[in-house]
């Protein structure tokens, strides 16, 4: 995982599955920033732990943007009926 910080922005590029392990690494990094951009173009899988992290970050008032999430991401949102929480038009760049 590669990350860059500038002022209140954090940019992360994940090179592994976006799972519990990744969540444990990302969450402390995101603590004191306002804007988080997650580049998922190399990510094969994203699981419900990842969705929960994004939800927590959004509920904390942070801005989250995803770049190129894996196709199953959209299906998971539909299956879990979370379209109103994860507004993909805004969330996904």
């Amino acid at each position: 995982m590669h990350h860059e910080r500038s002022e209140d922005r954090l940019t992360l590029r994940l090179t592994q599955d976006f799972n519990l392990m990744a969540v444990k690494q990302i969450e402390p990094l995101a603590e004191d920033v306002q804007h988080i951009r997650l580049d998922l173009s190399d990510v094969r899988l994203l699981d419900s732990e990842a969705l929960m992290l994004i939800d927590r970050l959004q509920r904390a008032g942070k801005t989250v943007r995803l770049h190129s999430p894996p196709p199953l991401f959209y299906e998971m949102i539909e299956v879990l009926e979370l379209e109103s929480v994860f507004d993909v038009d805004t969330l996904v760049q």
Binding site: N19, R44, D47, L80, L82
Partner: protein, 488 residues
């Protein structure tokens, strides 16, 4: 084929387990997107185990990966804190309003895989099973419906050779042209499945060809996954090439190959819709050892006008390929005479030690095999414990949602606990199925069965004297149970 992983409850192992599941799925023949779905389901399951099963301590759990021609199955087994999936239903409103995602992982798993089963194994822990069906191209999509004619080759010079993956399409066409859509084992209609099984050594076979290279017959042995035996089957000879000794030549070649590969025995599952397959098995030196109810779904059979009105039962016919003169077996009194006769048919004398009551551990170990397609499950007793009957009852309850047609229980005959456990299982509604020689880890098993759907025994046709006797024994045992099912 199967593989086992033993894993720690550490988040670091999640991706390794997921990677393994993805590649296992791909190697089994799942398309990439299906393998990815299986991998994500494994990710969700393993994450739940890591997070919740051993919340305050270190623990380990196992993942078992299995595959056959039609399915990929992953079983997670753990001994962590008690858990009931029904108590963790995902609620979208709760997730949207409160950020409470409890049950989301299980909800996704149910969506991602074709079958999801939870088995509470009591003190032996919990099992979660994920199954993905392998899609393949049906041979009818590749071939014309007209069977090849033998008219141009009145007396061909046949050549027999071991089947290779390149023969897969010819084998599927032989099945299709011989049986239409009525062959019980659906995997035989899918060339990719046949090729994969041959390539991976799950089966081996013989193909007969004419001098011009046309495939006109095939015969195969499907290796068992937990014992050095194999199922003989998939026998076909095209119309116009029959009654020329081809079947016998193919079987002889197959038996030679089975012995060369170290198999201890071969068996056939002969349908009881008619007696043709049973006659063929007897002709080739196999002897009837069991009658298994409802092994295949309701099928239409070639030559029969109407659909056979109930799931199809089979006779197990067995032929040892190694010299076994004597075995030591603890025979339950109710079946001792019949089992001794079955053994005698196989040329085996039974030494029956005096009954004993060895101390049992508190918990039983039972391996559960579920056939989702044909709706039956087999509970293989590996270790007898004090909780055997309770454990069987719990498993039967856990499987209620699977709408099974029958449940089998296999009891090892070399274990002195088998005779005393059998009456308890009979009280629980199980009846005889028969002897399953060398069926698990090269040990002989007594199989009991409990039908869960009404079956008309008059529609079950048997051929050999021994299969008649087995059926009669079962019929007498079932008299009460079947009438209960019909009226219940």
């Amino acid at each position: 084929m199967e593989a086992h992983l033993q894993l720690r409850n550490d988040p670091e192992i999640i991706e390794a387990a997921t990677d393994f599941a993805f590649k296992w799925g791909l190697n089994a023949g799942l398309p990439r997107d299906q393998a990815l779905r299986l991998a994500l389901a494994v990710d969700e399951l393993v994450t739940d185990i890591v997070r919740f099963a051993f919340r305050y301590e270190e623990g380990t759990f196992t993942l078992r990966f299995e595959r056959d021609l039609a399915t990929v199955e992953v079983t997670a087994r753990e001994l962590g804190a008690p858990f009931d999936p029904a108590a963790h239903r995902y609620d979208p409103e709760r997730a949207r309003n409160d950020g409470d995602f409890d049950g989301a992982g299980l909800h996704l798993i149910r969506h991602l895989v074709d079958e999801f089963t939870f088995l509470n194994q009591g003190r032996e822990g919990k099992e979660f099973r994920l199954v993905q069906h392998i899609p393949n191209e049906h041979i009818a999509e590749r071939t014309s419906t007209a069977p090849p004619s033998a008219a141009d080759e009145p007396e061909p010079d046949y050549h027999l050779a071991l089947a290779t993956p390149e023969d897969a399409e010819d084998i599927a066409q032989l099945i299709y042209h011989t049986y239409g859509y009525t062959y019980a084992k659906e995997a035989l209609y899918f060339p990719d499945k046949i090729a994969r099984a041959l390539r991976q050594g799950d089966k081996f076979g013989v193909v007969a060809r004419t001098g011009s290279g046309r495939a006109v017959g095939s015969f195969a042995v499907l290796r068992s996954t937990d014992s050095e035996i194999g199922e003989v089957g998939e026998a076909v000879v095209l119309e116009g090439h029959r009654r020329r000794g081809l079947m016998t030549r193919m079987l002889e070649a197959l038996i030679d190959e089975a012995q060369r590969r170290g198999l201890h025995g071969v068996f056939g599952e002969a349908v009881t819709v008619h007696t043709i397959s049973q006659r063929v098995n007897q002709h080739f030196g196999m002897r009837s050892t069991a009658l298994l109810f409802a092994v295949f779904r309701i099928l239409r059979f070639k030559g029969l006008v109407d659909e056979y009105p109930q799931p199809v039962s089979v006779i197990i016919d067995f032929r040892p390929l190694v010299d076994i003169d004597r075995v030591t077996a603890y025979l339950p009194a109710a079946y001792a005479d019949l089992l001794e006769r079955i053994y005698a048919d196989l040329g085996i004398t039974v030494d029956t030690p005096p009954a004993s009551q060895p101390a049992r551990p508190p918990t039983s170990r039972i391996d559960v095999h579920i056939n989702y397609r044909d709706r039956h499950a087999t509970l293989v007793v590996e270790t007898f414990g004090d909780d055997l009957i309770e454990h069987v009852h719990q498993t039967v309850d856990d499987l209620a949602d699977e709408e099974l047609h029958v449940i089998f229980v296999d009891l090892p005959l070399d274990d002195p606990a088998t005779p005393e456990s059998t009456p308890q299982l009979r009280e629980a509604g199980f009846v005889l199925a028969g002897l399953m020689p060398l069926f698990h880890q090269e040990r002989d098993y007594l199989r009991l069965q409990r039908p869960l759907v009404p079956l008309d025994l008059d529609l079950i046709q048997t051929h050999s004297d021994r299969s008649h006797a087995i059926k009669q024994t079962i019929k007498e045992e079932l008299a009460c149970t079947m009438s209960d099912l019909k009226t219940g």
